[in-house]
Amino acid sequence: MKTFDYVRPSTVVDAIAAAAAPGAAYLAAGTNLLDLMKGGVVSPKRLVDVTRLPGLDRIERLPDGGTRIGALVRNADLAHDSEFAKSYPAVAEALLSGASAQLRNAATVGGNLMQRTRCSYFYDAASACNKRSPGAGCDAREGENRLHAVLGWSDACIATHPSDFCVPLVALDAVVEIEGRDGGREIPVQFFHRLPGDAPERDSVLEPGELIVAVRLPGEARTFAAHARYLKLRERTSYAFAVVSAAACLKIEQGIIKDARLALGGVAAKPWRAREAEDALIGAHPDAAAYRWAAEAALAGAKPSGNNAFKIELAQRIIIRALTLAATGTPARIPALPASPFSSAAGIPHNV
């Protein structure tokens, strides 16, 4: 790890001023940043420690029924806040399916949004990687790429965004609140992360020096609480990133799907909102035919970026399973194995 200069401002204004220096990076818990620094993937010249900034560690209920989550709220605290988990069960389940209990106790909301890809060539400073050094090339194209993107990738980069938390956030129209030198702005989480195009070094639309201060869920998001699931397929049962994942949220009235939200993880450089699938579901009966149709619509534009055509079929199956379980109803308590496709509700076969 290269050395750096360390500052710990006590106000948001001071933090933003301190982060204006070239080569500065914000430090939250450090569970991703320190890892990247140890590997020589990034080498900030200055760390601006945001962990003591006041007022950013609160979960607030808003007058419109929405919820505002401060950027410093720890992943575990959010998932275990019982009011929050009841209102946004798919978000809580996604959080609890990520990383390990130790990491979730440390990791912050802002850091989770900003975590970098887990592409192993990005992590290996000896490999060519356009995201790490623009113009260097992409060793993943001809390398180990079975876990890479099947949607929205470009010739420059085929990496995926690894966050679980962001997937239901995108499905539920969450908004990121940002502060910068020129004041505040907000942007839907859906438009926060970028597809690679020819500039894969830019993961998100956040400008250098801008600080995430909160994430907001609209009041409407809680109207899906009775039928909301997050399912995540992993290469081991726990403590692993998603191969593919899906957040499925439904509103069912008189046996008809009145509204539907669907987003996918592990398939693209951003959490992927599947609008075509949502449109296909609205007005349909909640049955296998509708789920299959929605799954096909969601992956209609998918293309393997390497040795990963299997992920297209797998994503469709995880969508069908997530929709099936969401329609069955949100379990009263988060399942023992959060988001596991193998911990099934009664009467639902494993092999759909």
Partner: protein, 165 residues
């Protein structure tokens, strides 16, 4: 640049002068405070051997910058027994053979103490396994570890009930 930080380590106040901001809590414990019970497995958040309890929460000390934790209260494996009396989790690991080589054990025990305090697993073995998934064991002592955690949870609940009775 040098930084002075104050910590409480296993109940004792401790002032440390850091000549380098890169020091992690793990390296601080092992190399500067000679508390080598906390182990370094991967140094990258992937194994849990470095688990300690900071301000009441279990975290991976390898991915925590010491300077960022100025003022924190740390509990490590060296601080869990009371004199010669083992912590109930330590005792349960021995009773249930929750270890073989022992390298992962301090992390497992600290993680189990954290899990029991969090209170989400109780007597459900599946929830215990899930709650302990951040601690890898190359010797595969998982069956004994799960039994030990379940047993210690029950023993500690009983002691709590007796105390409040």
């Amino acid at each position: 640049m040098s930084f002075s930080i104050s910590l409480i380590v296993n109940g004792s106040p401790c002032d440390v002068e850091l000549d380098d901001p890169r020091v992690t809590l793990l390296d601080l414990l092992r190399e500067r405070l000679q508390l080598t019970g906390t182990k370094k497995g991967c140094d990258r958040g992937q194994c849990g051997a470095c688990t300690v309890i900071v301000d009441g929460r279990r975290i991976n000390s390898c991915l925590a910058l010491a300077v960022s934790h100025d003022g924190a209260d740390l509990l490590t494996i060296e601080g869990v027994a009371t004199g010669d009396r083992l912590h109930p989790v330590q005792a349960a690991f021995i009773t249930h053979d929750g270890l073989q080589c022992g390298f992962c054990t301090p992390g497992q025990i600290m993680s189990a103490i954290g899990l029991i305090q969090e209170g989400h697993a109780a007597d459900d073995p599946e929830r215990v396994r899930e709650g302990m998934s951040g601690n890898l064991c190359r010797c595969g002592a998982y069956a004994g570890i799960t039994e030990a955690v379940l047993d210690a949870t029950a023993a500690m609940a009983l002691t709590d009930r007796r105390r409040s009775a």
